[in-house]
């Protein structure tokens, strides 16, 4: 991946720009830590670190499959409602005296099923994921409300709530963080070390070429959305455990943070590039930022300003930088187009018999 004169590539070499983006993140992170430390002496303590990371774990866990989905060129807006549905369903099942292990299995299965619905509509039905998951965002939340109503269920056994609330014995590391790390490692291996991951990148970069190369595009997408639903349900269970409360409105508004983390992690919103380490870094950055804001007495609600700005900037900065770069190259001029830059229309005379398939 070296020795490439990127000027000849139509899109910028992703590894290099990604490396730059991650460097930027690390710098921003260090800046935030210095700032936070100046704001409060508690900022760098282990206990505080545990707190700031624990509060973000549901988001962090959901961001992992979202990373894969965005790299494949799609998006899943329904995750927050899938997590809410999981919480509500768990509460309902517990109320109905279903043994907890079985209830958890049912909840996970329902999550995967919801993901299957998304995946089938998108990959087989050919509908845009934005709209489909906007619909299921409402649908899953509605189902959560129907299942549990406005009540909260909170008489869960201590063994269950300990998972979300507790720490690894003898440390300050919260259990959900362990779950996140394990998932992150597994998905990082899948994405970066297996051919399934290669297929995901290929779909995001050029799904036509991927299909012609024998990549089962629809199957991969359905699989990704199922994974997303499953993990969202898991996040809903962890949230329920952490708050010791099952509610139909659990995880409301979380999709925004999930998408923000993913895009901040350097994943291209148009698909084809991004990495799990980048997203893990973004999780830490957002956690540190939220913590700094909290220490500065900024309420959670108002923090959403920073989050929204972060989301927009994560898209505006790379695209604008890229546009500026190509504009500069154009102005410098003199560079003849590469031999194959014949305009598409010229290379390929459209034939009427083609139909979208």
């Amino acid at each position: 991946m070296t020795a490439v004169t990127t000027s000849a590539t139509p899109r910028f070499g992703w590894t290099r720009s990604l490396a730059r983006w991650e460097t930027l993140l690390v710098v921003a992170l260090l800046g935030l830590i210095v700032l936070g430390n100046a704001l409060s002496p508690f900022f760098l303590t282990a206990g505080n670190f545990a707190n700031l990371i624990a509060a973000l774990m549901e988001v962090a866990i959901m961001a992992l499959p979202m990373t894969l989905i965005v790299i494949a060129g799609e998006i899943d807006l329904s995750v927050e409602s899938a997590a809410g549905l999981a919480s509500a369903l768990l509460g309902f099942l517990w109320m109905s005296h279903v043994p907890l292990p079985i209830a958890i299995l049912i909840v996970l299965a329902v999550g995967a099923l919801g993901g299957l619905l998304n995946g089938l509509l998108i990959a087989r039905g050919g509908l845009p994921s934005l709209v489909v998951t906007l619909g299921t965002l409402a649908l899953f939340r509605g189902l959560a409300l129907i299942v549990l109503g406005p009540i909260g269920v909170s008489d869960f056994p201590e063994a269950f709530t300990a998972v979300g609330f507790g720490h690894v014995p003898g440390t300050v590391i919260p259990w959900p963080f362990v779950i996140f790390l394990v998932l992150a490692v597994v998905l990082a291996v899948v994405l970066h070390r297996t051919w399934i991951g290669r297929h995901i990148y290929a779909i995001g970069k050029n799904s036509g070429a991927a299909r012609y190369s024998g990549v089962r595009v629809a199957r991969v997408k359905v699989g990704l959305f199922m994974l997303s639903g499953l993990i969202a349900a898991l996040a809903g269970i962890i949230l329920t455990s952490r708050l010791s409360s099952a509610r139909a409105d659990a995880a409301q508004g979380m999709t925004l943070t999930v998408v923000t983390v993913v895009l901040l992690g350097g994943v291209n919103i148009f698909g084809g590039s991004g990495s799990i380490p980048g997203v893990v870094l973004a999780v830490i950055a957002v956690a540190v930022m939220q913590n700094a804001l909290r220490l500065a007495s900024v309420t959670v609600e108002v923090q959403s300003i920073a989050l929204g700005l972060l989301l927009i900037l994560s898209v505006v900065i790379p695209t604008s930088a890229h546009r500026a770069k190509s504009a500069i190259e154009r102005v410098r001029g003199g560079r003849p187009p590469p031999p194959d830059s014949v305009p598409r229309g010229e290379q390929r005379i459209p034939s009427v018999e083609e139909e979208p398939s």
Binding site: M1, T2, A3, V4, T5, T6, A8, T9, P10, R11, G13, W14, V189, V190, R193, T194, W195, I196, R198, H199, Y201, A202, K205, N206, G208, A209, A210, R211, Y212, S213, G214, V215, R216, G272, P336, P337, P338, P339, D340, S341, V342, P343, R344, G345, E346, Q347, R348, I349, P350, S351, V352, E353, E354, E355, S357
Partner: protein, 516 residues
């Protein structure tokens, strides 16, 4: 070569003059120093093989491309056509093979989009728009519900809307770019009647077509392009089909000589294959060691046949047998597993992931086979990629280079290496040498020859006539979704193939019937 003879209408004024137009795309000289004139009230045919430069000329007139050199005069005044909007303002209207309309808007609005009759306060007067549209269609003598949305109308109807659109702006020059490619015989008749009426009104019409019989049926003069150059302009009354074909063919070639190889057993049998709207009743066989050329014009249905063979599209009827056993692929990956590989026509769109490395591209179709335990080992991948590309002599810094950084010819070699890595028994090549330079072309031909010699069955779809003739053991010619001829190597000539490909009624020396 600029000698456009005076038009048949003698004293009629010159409407448009193109003088010494040249256009280059990277390494490809699409047009070199061509000249063409159109007089008022004539229908002027522009013919030539694929790649002769017809569509480039149309796009220059339509404002899509700017010429590198040369001048364009309209009614004697030099003009610059900076963009499509300017072309329209100058009175140049193009009816594309695939109309560019707004499917959600009504017929009337599509006709008048951008210049609808204004009513009070500058708002659009829909009543007037409708009436004006109806008047235009009445003038064209066709029935149309101008209030219906365009979505759902046939291609022929949409073309008529484009023509009405050009009438609505009183176009001085009307360009019909292969308008009949998707029309039925009846629709063609209707279109011709309309075009003749437009000629009577004094319009200059440039008629770009592959169908030679239509050229004679409709046009006053014909201009032939070949390899981006002007060959001849003559009144059609002074031409015969044989003349036109002779002017069109005879391109300069420098090819790798085909290696004669023994032909083995039947690998692929296709029997009565049909897909509605694409092709009908297609039957042929491919044997081991054999190169079967597929000739025909763009849109003849060759790519569509390949797409069905490769499991991208579904067939509606017919049978495919591979090695004697019936197969029905539902996905490219199934086809690849069974030993059928398809090298698509559009390298950038379908063939390569441009910002993957060469190694990543080459191994993409075989990853599951290469790494059954899911984990990709970079060293293995590299080694395989180096192995697979060695025979192709790709000019690269290494297999870790991004494919997008390679030249077109080298990209095409990577494409070939990629598909061959899956060790297919049958290889379908779709326009494998389009847009690459002559050196790379020769190399591709050498590789294809060697592949056949190694026992593969090869289907070579190409619009490059000399290439098909030189490479193929047998040539299947398609025209409008059907096989019109199957010609063995020994009897194949450019003229014979061209007759079959253009669907010309007279069979030249009477060998048009398929040799089957």
């Amino acid at each position: 070569m600029t000698g456009a003879s005076p038009g048949p209408v003698g004293a009629a004024p010159l409407r448009a003059e193109l003088r010494g137009i040249s256009k280059r795309f990277g390494a490809t000289q699409a047009l070199s120093d061509v000249s063409l004139d159109l007089v008022a009230g004539e229908i002027h045919a522009l013919v030539g093989e694929n790649g002769a430069g017809k569509s480039t000329l149309v796009k220059i007139l339509a404002g899509v491309h700017q010429p590198d050199s040369g001048t364009i005069l309209l009614d004697g005044a030099p003009v610059q056509i900076g963009g499509p909007a300017e072309a329209r303002a100058l009175g140049i209207a193009v009816v594309h093979q695939e109309p560019r309309l707004f499917p959600d808007l009504t017929v009337a609005e599509n006709v008048f989009i951008g210049h609808a009759p204004a009513g009070r306060l500058g708002s659009i007067d829909w009543g007037a728009t409708r009436r004006a549209a109806e008047a235009l269609f009445a003038e064209l003598d066709v029935q149309f519900d101008v209030n219906a949305p365009v979505r759902g109308l046939s291609m022929a109807d949409q073309q008529l809307i484009e023509i009405a659109k050009s009438l609505s702006v009183e176009a001085r020059v009307l360009i019909l770019d292969e308008p009949t490619a998707s029309l039925s015989a009846h629709e063609v008749e209707r279109l011709f009647a309309i075009v003749r009426r437009l000629r009577q009104r004094g319009a200059s019409i440039l008629f770009v077509s592959h169908r030679l019989d239509e050229v004679f049926a409709l046009c006053d003069r014909a201009t032939v392009f070949r390899d981006g150059r002007h060959v001849v302009t003559l009144p059609t009354s002074q031409l015969t089909t044989a003349d036109l074909v002779r002017h069109m063919v005879g391109r300069a070639v420098s090819l790798f000589p085909k290696v004669e190889t023994p032909i083995g057993d039947v690998l692929l049998e296709v029997d009565g294959l049909s897909r509605v709207g694409a092709f009908r009743d297609v039957s042929f066989t491919v044997r081991s060691g054999e190169i079967v050329g597929f000739a025909g014009l763009v849109g003849a249905g060759r790519t569509e046949v390949a797409r069905v063979l490769f499991g991208i599209d579904r067939r509606d009827a017919g049978e495919i047998r591979l090695g004697g056993a019936p197969v029905a692929f539902t996905s490219p990956s199934a086809a690849l597993t069974a030993g059928v590989a398809y090298v698509p026509e559009d390298r950038h769109q379908d063939g390569l992931v441009l910002d993957f490395t060469i190694a990543q591209n080459v191994t993409l179709p075989i990853l599951p086979r290469l790494f059954p335990r899911l984990l990709v080992r970079a060293a293995t991948e590299r080694a395989v990629a180096i192995d697979e590309t060695r025979a192709f002599q790709v000019r690269m810094t290494g297999v870790g280079q991004l494919v997008g950084a390679l030249s077109g010819g080298n990209q095409q070699k990577v494409v070939l290496a990629k598909w061959l890595a899956s060790r297919p028994r049958v290889l379908i090549l779709d326009e494998p040498t389009r847009g690459i330079d002559i050196g790379a072309k020769v190399e591709v031909h050498r590789i294809v020859s060697e592949l056949a010699a190694s026992g593969l069955g090869i289907v070579l779809i190409s619009s490059d006539l000399p290439e098909v003739l030189a490479m193929s053991d047998r040539i299947v010619v398609m025209h409008e979704g059907r096989i019109t001829a199957e010609i063995p190597r020994a009897r194949a000539t450019e003229e014979r193939v061209m007759y079959a490909a253009t669907g010309s009624a007279d069979g030249g020396d009477g060998t048009m019937a398929a040799d089957r």
